[in-house]
Symmetry: C2
Subunit: 453 residues, 2 copies
């Protein structure tokens, strides 16, 4: 896999002689002999591939090292000998060393000289801080910041290898959504749909890129609970993405009518959402500012809600007052890569380019990305409209917005609950390529496809 050496070359070119150490993390324990599924740190996967729990990656002086706990005979009896270190060295394009020798290497270079990044696993984070003679939570000095920015610059612009992986994760996600759609029947359970979707991933040796959202409560943006009897007349919102076997993410949202046909109100809201999606996608190309894509979605959704009689006034005035955000409280999308919100472990360094910061304004405060688009970026476009009781029933909101929100009209559409429509896009030289193709693009296509179930 020539990709690792090339990625590291691109990284190191930005860092000159700054030595780098990254932790892969250990498994989370249920108890000492029962561990949860392991997923290594994305930065490590990006630079060296999938390494075992407890691995550390160093880049220094043109040398790439992986430090690992060697497999004992007892380990081999229980879990097999694993690949030999010579095979691993070849696979990961690095030299392999026992973890017990890492501290010596760190000290020889000088503990204070290394740049590193925080790691989610607290055990690995502690280990790293001890190695580097830092107090915990000490990440974020000038060195670490340089490393984070350089790595963001690399991961932001996908190479051919990562595009291939994202396509594979996208296709798997599509296949899972189609299997889920086919499992939808009134009287079945949301769990049956989950089971049909997971079957696709499990057969491919894949898993999910985030906890599945499969819910008739589509007004809950990230409803954590799956389970409930599917009812004719309801919509089933499915926000579900595969993580392929190599660790790369897909992320798709469909909102399916359980009956296979939308009601008049559902269809009216759905058409607004898909219109926003298609207009946003038409904007995608290098140089476009993502905030402008978000604002275009806001305009279309606002205009649509005006057509329904829910909002009153002018589009610009309604957006100025954040009236649309009660129905569209999240951002139009986010970066995609090894993680579904790619590189959010680094905060907003990846999502917001230098000189830009996340707004505190309601609606905009959930926008995860505001960069000028560049060729090779992968991101989602995911407009939605929601009727959220906690917002719509707030007495203060009701009175402050009584001039521009028709609360009686809201009641007409409240039963629609929530609709979101999401696909993944690669920014290309001339526009964008959908990485999750083959799914219906509007309400008519959905009804036609579901009629064939």
């Amino acid at each position: 896999m020539a990709c690792y050496a090339e990625r590291r070359r691109r990284l190191i070119a930005q860092l000159s002689d700054l030595p780098v150490i990254l932790a892969n993390g250990w498994e989370r324990l249920r108890n000492p002999s029962n561990t949860f599924n392991f997923r290594g740190e994305s930065h490590v996967i990006y630079l060296a591939g999938q390494l075992p729990p407890g691995a550390f990656l160093t880049l220094h002086n043109g040398e790439v090292r992986i430090y690992l706990e060697p497999v004992s005979v007892e380990d081999a009896v229980w879990s097999g000998p694993g690949e030999s270190w010579s095979v691993l060295a070849n696979l990961h394009e690095a030299s392999l060393h026992p973890l017990s020798e890492l501290s010596e290497y760190i000290a020889a270079v000088g503990a204070e000289k290394w740049a590193s990044l925080p790691v989610q696993d607290p055990r690995a984070q502690n280990y790293l801080c001890q190695l580097l003679k830092r107090t915990p939570d000490c990440h974020g000095d000038e060195r670490d910041r340089r490393l984070a920015e350089a790595l963001v610059e690399c991961r932001l612009i996908n190479d051919n290898f990562s595009i291939g992986e994202l396509r594979s994760a996208g296709y798997l996600s599509v296949e899972a959504h189609l299997a889920g759609m086919r499992a939808i029947r009134a009287g079945k359970d949301e769990c049956d749909v989950l089971a049909a979707m997971m079957r696709v991933l499990n057969r491919a040796g894949a898993s999910v890129s985030f906890a599945p959202i499969i819910t008739m409560s589509g007004e809950r943006l990230h409803q954590p609970h799956v389970g409930g009897t599917l009812q004719d007349g309801a919509l089933l919102l499915i926000d579900f993405g595969a993580e392929n076997a190599a660790g790369w993410a897909g992320d798709i949202t469909n909102t399916w009518p359980v009956a296979g046909k939308f009601t008049r109100e559902q269809r009216a809201v759905f058409d607004i959402v898909t219109k926003a999606y298609h207009e946003c996608v038409a904007m995608l190309k290098p140089g476009v500012r993502y905030l402008d894509v978000h604002m275009r979605a806001a305009e279309i959704l606002t205009a649509g809600l005006m057509d329904l009689g829910i909002l009153r006034g002018t589009v610009s005035e309604l957006i100025e007052r954040d009236a649309h955000a009660f129905f569209f409280p999240h951002g139009i999308g986010h970066l995609m890569g090894l993680d579904v919100h790619d590189m959010e472990d680094l905060g907003d360094i990846a999502g917001y380019q230098k000189g830009r910061a996340r707004s505190k304004r309601f609606g905009l405060n959930c926008l995860r990305l505001d960069r000028d688009l560049r060729e090779g970026m992968v991101l989602t476009i995911e407009p939605g409209l929601y009727f959220i009781p906690e917002l719509l029933d707030d007495p203060q909101i009701r009175s402050s917005y009584s001039d521009c929100i028709d609360w009686e009209k809201v009641e007409l559409y409240r039963g629609v609950r929530g609709i979101r429509f999401e696909r993944d896009h690669l920014i290309t030289a001339g526009g964008s390529e959908c990485l999750t193709p083959g799914l219906p693009a509007d309400a008519a296509e959905i009804e036609a496809l579901m009629a064939q179930r």
Copy 2:
């Protein structure tokens, strides 16, 4: 659910006025907005049911409190409002309090007076230690030890509620194994079998009690990797258990011939393993020492290997020299409950009764349980025979045991790789009840069942 109050009554009866605090743990983060599936601490589930991430449970002065982070409006917009605290109070038979008030309560009672148990989630462990004014890793003083022993005494003897849950987890595990068996076909992949099994669990809103072992490399006791083309002539070892929606575990191992028929060598080894299983089960009843069950398995397996010509000598002499343990290096089973190795988070306090300690001897060092059996205990019986290269090819073992192991005969059976047979049993007044019924009990039944695929 009257079970929680009764369980707490049984616990507190052993502790008199010792105040108790237990942490449920937080989710593990992938990044701040992407969490892995949450599974609370088993002790908390046992005493109060499934609580949200970040919950703490206190028992003091006849009062049961649950401390929780309240749901903000923003949380509600993203994940729904959750159940109201009055519903939760009723469900968990406790009063609910905001987490921000926990430290005050702890201090009012006296931080040094509380007993607690270590928790796997490092964030919760840190939080707990700060609350109790302890240094990390400080668990294990006299108070904590009393709590651990009292809780073990409660959880060891299952009440009617937990037996019901274990039956449900057992049945689900059986259903999954049958679905897996039906998916076995030469040319398919191990992942197809996993997918068929997971589908059963996902449809039931259940998950796994440990990382599935589905492998043609049955000689690896806990082969972590699933994936590989199924081949006629191979055995597929499946060690797989459900965790039902309430959090209780099942644990079953089957070893299926991919072709639906065993080869002569596979059948010969399989028959020895199932004979050991049935003889061990026949021993189960209150008062029997579990070590004796293990040793009975060792005898039958040794005698069987002698019949095959692999071992030479007398059964007792071979066992005395640990010769059998090269082929049966693990224990005959373990406790089962909310965890698949129940309460192993407490070390050997649960598995080994007072006055007994784990042996350091090869084979016996992996025995997870040595108690006199009591009515209401749930445990596994899981004999196995393995041909493990790392042991069989060790030059020192080969020469030391050349008088009693026929290394040429070993080669005849090496291709069998590994066979394990495991079921879950509840100790009853008169013997035991299999909690995982409905699966074939020997090689002939397996072949008959697989012929119907």
